[in-house]
């Protein structure tokens, strides 16, 4: 699952990290939209060549490269099956184009997820009009994922110590083995949820109609610039793609 790493926030000090999350959302969506408009190899290569410097600006090239290496088996799978099953004229060339598109799409979205801290994301949602409770629930989910994981391991160890053989037996047996883990895990989680609720209540959760925020996001000039350029790029490319006949070289492909 290492290819998912590219969607995980990494703390860095970079130009991209410092942009407003809303601006980054716009640029990511525009880039993904552009990637979806083409399937040929040349435009996809150009797209990736455009994206890589952006990832480099976010100081995350290494992480991106690891992720892409992790993605390799999936890409090969796409290429093999598409080549065998596709009905297009040059199935291999088409499959290459498709897998490059997947890379471009992932990279476009990773630009957002790599550089937006979950807290910033929830703050952005709040400022976009989502109720605090919902946005906060999301960031709390992120907060408690590792805690829950730890708890699951503790329960697994406890059950092993009592003789439950978790990784033995056939498929059906293994699935049934999940029960002695899941049941205590749910009970523990409900208890924990109550205790968290108690502590949040004691800290005034829901006390005031007018909740304030220590940090609020502010859209600066450069954020507007990014939004403007992204939208302009998107519009221009839509224009060329759908209202012009593209030059020959754009649709160049391998002859098999």
């Amino acid at each position: 699952m290492s290819f998912l790493e590219v969607f995980q926030y990494t703390r860095q000090e970079s130009v991209i990290h410092n942009l407003d999350p809303r601006a980054k959302l716009v640029i990511s969506i525009c880039l993904a939209g552009i990637s979806l408009m083409f399937t040929d190899i040349i435009p996809m290569v150009l797209m990736i060549c455009f994206l890589i410097p952006l990832i480099a600006a976010a100081k995350s090239l290494k992480r991106w490269a690891t992720s892409m290496r992790g993605l390799l088996p999936l890409l090969l799978f796409i290429i093999v099956f598409n080549t065998l099953l596709s009905t297009t004229e040059y199935p291999f060339s088409h499959s290459i184009g498709l897998s490059l598109r997947l890379v471009a799409l992932m990279t476009s979205f990773s630009l957002f997820f790599l550089t937006v801290h979950p807290d910033e994301l929830s703050q952005a949602l709040i400022q976009m009009g989502i109720r605090f409770e919902f946005a906060f629930a999301m960031s709390m989910a992120m907060r408690y994922v590792p805690t829950l994981g730890q708890e699951a391991y503790a329960i697994m160890d406890a059950q092993r110590a009592r003789g439950v053989e978790l990784d033995k037996g056939n498929m059906l047996k293994r699935i049934r083995n999940i029960v002695p883990i899941i049941v205590p895990l749910i009970i523990v989680s409900i208890r924990r949820a109550l205790s968290i609720a108690e502590s949040m209540e004691s800290r005034g959760f829901g006390a005031s109609e007018k909740r304030t925020y220590m940090e609020t996001l502010s859209f600066r000039k450069r954020d507007w610039g990014v939004v403007f350029i992204s939208l302009l790029g998107l519009v221009i490319l839509i224009h060329f793609r759908f209202f012009f006949s593209l030059p020959e070289w754009v649709s160049w492909g391998l002859p098999f």
């Binding site: 801290h117 807290d119 907060r143 108690e198 005034g204 304030t212």
Partner: protein, 280 residues
């Protein structure tokens, strides 16, 4: 007017057969440092919850009598409002940290109360400095030790600027060293004027600084007074609490006819008393 006053207060949790608190009469004045102790299930936690209104607002059940906190009846005021007066620290630090970094955590309470952002920032910086949390600033709660988590939880509670800090066994998940430093900070806070209610089993660590020791058993208060006085009562052995070693030695000597000049709480005090007795 006392800061907190329990008037003939009884409480039974929904679905339970026994009273968790029985006819509690307790008054807490400003500036006191009260240690509450007693065997498990004696009602200490319920008493803490009653001070900030979690009982009966969050945990429902049968109630008799009243609790007044800074003039508010806890039956009528919401927990969120009482949070401005009484700050509560819980046993499990992980369950108190709900955000992804320290500054946000400290800001969570004041944000809920609608304090202005500038003031929140100032409070956060001040607490990070006074509680020495600078090195934790960017850490995920998951990456901190229990002791560090509890420190952050304390900062988060203090950020509400409560008049009274109630800590329910804050050291039970901590190693001895972290426990000691946490308790030292608590007694510093009390010295600076904070009213403190602390549930604690390790009396050898806290009874020297406490102004009052409250002993609970089966939902009732069975002894209440200065630590030295309460600890010398025979009821301490009857219900089984962690009497400091030095006090145990004192009691043993007393039973054998050797009465020291005062009840010692620490090894040092015991040594001094014994020395005095020998010199006579």
């Amino acid at each position: 007017m006392p800061l907190v006053e329990f008037v003939d207060f009884s409480f039974k949790y929904l679905g339970s057969d026994n009273l968790a608190l029985r006819k509690i009469d307790l008054r807490i004045d400003e500036g006191e440092y009260i240690v509450i102790t007693g065997p498990s299930g004696c009602g200490k936690t319920t008493l803490c919850r009653a001070i900030n209104g979690l009982v009966p607002q969050f945990h429902r059940g049968y109630i008799a009598g009243h609790v007044y906190v800074d003039g508010h009846d806890t039956r009528e005021s919401r927990v969120a409002e009482l949070a401005r007066v009484a700050g509560l620290m819980f046993q499990n630090p992980a369950n108190q940290l709900v955000t992804l970094n320290v500054a946000k955590e400290i800001a969570f309470g004041p944000e809920n109360l609608g304090v202005e952002p500038d003031k929140i920032r100032a409070r956060v910086e001040e607490l990070i400095e006074t509680l020495h949390l600078e090195h934790l600033r960017e850490k995920h709660p998951h990456e901190m030790s229990g002791g560090q988590q509890q420190m952050v939880a304390m900062a988060a509670t203090l950020a509400l600027e409560p008049k009274i800090l109630v800590a329910d066994e804050p050291t039970s998940n901590l190693d001895p060293k972290s426990a000691e430093s946490l308790l030292a900070i608590l007694s510093d806070l009390n010295r600076d004027g904070m009213t403190l209610v602390l549930v604690e089993h390790r009396l050898d660590l806290v009874s020297r600084n406490a102004t009052r020791l409250v002993l609970m058993d089966k939902g009732s208060i069975v002894a209440d007074g200065p630590p030295r006085k309460v600890l010398s009562l025979p009821i301490c052995e009857e219900i089984g609490i962690g009497i400091p070693k030095a006090t145990q030695v004192y009691k043993h000597l007393k039973r054998n006819g050797c009465v020291l000049s005062r009840v010692p709480l620490t090894g040092e005090e015991l040594a001094i008393s014994v020395e005095e007795a020998c010199n006579k």
